[in-house]
């Protein structure tokens, strides 16, 4: 934090007075002065100094709002990390990691640290819709949590069914109060798909029996930033798998505000914290891809970044679980790895305390960060070639159906050929007869 403060002091000189906080009472994206260019993937901004100034003034304002004094700022992280025995050094290392993961220049590292500090005090609502709470579990239950997970454990959660103290009416009152008090400032994280069938009656939550649909709509309306975490919240996930009797949809389908999707099953804590930190830094969503995912995390295809890619190119594949190829870490393409169809950063920012990801563990990717992965990526342990094709009335793979059609066409052609042969012979005979007659007639005439 010391470094961050130094940077802060130097930046204060250039501070633009009228630069507005994004977390103002007007939470509409358009009224925020956050329309500056922000493109970490290429060049940060047209004017880098301007971007830095905006970020710095934003952080200063947020610190003023959420912390009592400079002492409070400095002590906050010590308190958070001392409980988990993370040293300042480890935190600084993690800051560097996150900065580079966010594709930001090094100059942003201290600012990322400050933003992470602010993040632990930012009002936070975590809604659970229809899902297995796998993301919550993944974030909360880690034996050796990384700073990302610790930050998630210490965020100022005002409403989160799984860990909150209030219950029943009190819990709901707490949520409503947060929505009212921190209008346009609070972070809304939604986990789980939202059932829309029967007007949302498939999911009712709380003492008043409100539907998940109502709660989500009401809470999303005034949120500062809306994040859908996990595949269910992003695209409907498993609750929305065919035939989807509850009419479950992703969060972006029920609100007309911008939703940042952090898909995967469960989502990587680094991706969630990184996105939140970037929101704290710039007050708006990071660059998103066409599926609403932050580009810094989801721009790389797993197959292209996989450490087994060389074996793919060399034609060396695991053919059977536990065969010699598996021991030698050959490519899992023929064991149904969906890495070629999946965009995520598992291979870079890994799971389980930055330790592993599916391919390293010896199993193929199941494509959990893609829409409708339960329908599109199955069967998980067979190559995509063995998937059934979506043609009504056809229950076959592309090859089976293709071969069947080819066979039918072949039979048809053969039948036609035989038919032609028979018919021609008949015609010829008739012709010969006719010719004979004609000849006879001619002879007669002659």
């Amino acid at each position: 934090m010391g470094k961050g403060d130094e940077k802060n002091k130097t930046a204060k000189g250039k501070k633009i007075e009228n630069s507005d906080r994004a977390c103002s009472d007007e939470y509409d994206d358009k009224t925020d002065k956050t329309n500056f260019k922000w493109d970490p993937l290429r060049n940060i901004a047209d004017d880098p100094d301007e971007a830095l100034n905006i970020v710095d003034s934003r952080l200063t304002n947020l610190e003023k709002e959420y912390f009592k004094s400079q002492k409070d700022i400095d002590e906050n992280f010590n308190n958070v990390f001392s409980a988990s025995s993370i040293s300042r050094r480890e935190f600084i290392q993690w800051t560097a990691l996150l900065t580079s993961a966010l594709m930001l220049p090094t100059i942003f590292a201290p600012r990322v640290a400050r933003a992470a500090n602010i993040l632990t005090r930012t009002p936070f609502i975590w809604l659970d819709m229809s899902d297995c709470m796998g993301n919550t579990e993944a974030f909360l239950r880690t034996a050796h949590p990384t700073p990302a997970e610790i930050i998630l454990n210490y965020v100022s959660v005002d409403y989160m069914e799984s860990i909150m103290v209030p219950a029943g009416y009190q819990a709901e009152a707490r949520r409503d109060e947060t929505v009212k008090k921190y209008k346009g400032k609070y972070i809304l994280v939604v986990e789980g798909a939202i059932p829309t069938g029967m007007n949302g009656k498939f999911l009712t939550i709380g003492a008043k029996g409100k539907t998940g649909l109502e709660i989500t709509k009401a809470t999303a309306k005034n949120a500062g930033v809306i994040i859908a975490v996990g595949n269910c919240a992003s695209y409907g996930g498993i609750p929305a798998a065919y035939p989807n009797p509850t009419g479950s949809v992703g969060l972006s389908s029920v609100t007309n505000r911008q939703v940042i999707n952090i898909p995967a099953c469960p989502a990587n804590p680094v991706n969630l914290v990184g996105t939140l930190v970037e929101y704290i830094l710039i007050g708006k969503a990071p660059m998103l891809d066409s599926l609403g995912r932050p580009l810094w995390a989801y721009s790389g295809r797993l197959h292209d970044n996989c450490y087994r890619r060389g074996h793919f190119e060399a034609g060396e594949y695991v053919k059977q679980w536990g065969d010699d190829g598996a021991k030698k870490q050959y490519c899992l393409y023929m064991m149904g790895c969906k890495g070629p169809f999946t965009w995520n950063n598992c291979t870079v920012a890994q799971y389980n305390q930055d330790m592993s990801f599916p391919m390293r563990a010896g199993h193929g990717c199941i494509g959990c960060s893609e829409p409708a992965f339960w329908d599109r990526m199955t069967p998980f342990e067979k190559p995509n070639l063995d998937a059934k094709i979506f043609i009504p009335g056809v229950e076959a793979t592309a090859d089976e159906f293709g071969v069947a059609l080819f066979g039918a066409a072949g039979v048809g052609m053969a039948a036609h050929a035989i038919y032609t042969g028979v018919k021609r012979r008949k015609n010829n005979k008739e012709k010969e007869k006719n010719n004979g007659k004609d000849n006879d007639n001619n002879k007669d005439k002659k």
């Binding site: 034609g315 060396e316 969906k338 169809f341 036609h416 032609t420 021609r424």
Partner: protein, 259 residues
């Protein structure tokens, strides 16, 4: 041949020019590259030859495991994909040349025969009828008959679909820029991203690509069959068209001059 001699029609045979050099080049380019695409594409979909020897993956022509030595010597998938891409480029160039000629060919713009208008659709049914009755052979001397024209058009639409789905899979590994500049992946995204919505994600696109391959294989066999059939039944040397560009014609000769 006895028939022809006996009916004394030999003098009626007339040589007709049907395919220009460019069209023949397009035809055989497509032929060779599609054969190449089928072989390499099937390998990419299902790598049937496993290179690289391990004790449990020993040499066996039955299971398709061949020893190619060290990993760095194999690179079989790389080569398959490389040839698949080269074949794709050849098909694309041929396709667009075909498309141009289909509209602007001075000899015979194909759109005149494939657009199903008026008597064209009638002629098409006549040809189908002829295939099953062997009677009343429609006139196919100078130009392509509408049935063939429509089937060829359908085939080229399949090629177009293959291009769209193929380029969608190709552009998947780009991250916004390329060796020739950002316009290339951007253009491919603009042209092919609709396939993701139509066919259900990249896996659906892949399966579509594979399924259309089968339709193309069926077309190839149909095409060869019907041309051989025509050559045998009509005795007009239809099979010679893509080689020499000429066929013989025995019908419609009197009205030919009025064309």
């Amino acid at each position: 041949m006895g028939n022809i001699n006996s009916s004394g029609n030999d003098s009626d045979l007339k040589v007709v020019h049907r395919m220009t050099v460019i069209k023949r080049i397009i035809h055989w380019t497509l032929f060779l590259s599609i054969i190449n695409q089928i072989i390499t594409g099937m390998y990419i979909a299902y790598p049937f030859l496993i290179f690289g020897k391990t004790p449990t993956q020993a040499d066996s022509p039955v299971s398709g495991v061949l020893n190619s030595g060290e990993t760095y010597q194999a690179f079989i998938m790389t080569w398959m994909r490389e040839f698949h891409f080269i074949g794709a480029v050849l098909i694309d160039v041929s396709f667009f040349a075909w498309l141009y000629l289909a509209f602007f060919s001075t000899k015979e713009p194909l759109y005149k025969s494939f657009l199903p208008f008026g008597n064209k659709i009638n002629e098409m049914y006549k040809m189908i009828k002829h295939y099953f009755t062997l009677k009343n052979k429609p006139e196919t001397g100078k130009y392509q008959d509408p049935l063939n024209a429509i089937i060829f058009t359908f085939f080229h639409l399949l090629l177009l679909l293959q291009m769209a789905t193929g380029f969608q899979m190709y552009v998947a590994s780009f991250t916004g820029t390329s060796a020739v500049g950002a316009w290339w992946p951007a253009m491919l995204h603009i042209c092919t991203d609709w396939t993701l919505w139509v066919f259900g994600g990249l896996t659906g696109v892949t399966l579509t690509h594979l399924f259309i391959t089968w339709l193309i294989i069926i077309f190839i066999f149909y095409h060869i069959y019907i041309e051989v059939w025509r050559s045998i039944v009509w005795k007009e040397g239809d099979i010679l068209i893509p080689f020499g560009g000429y066929k013989y014609s025995r019908d419609n000769l009197k009205e030919d001059d009025t064309d």
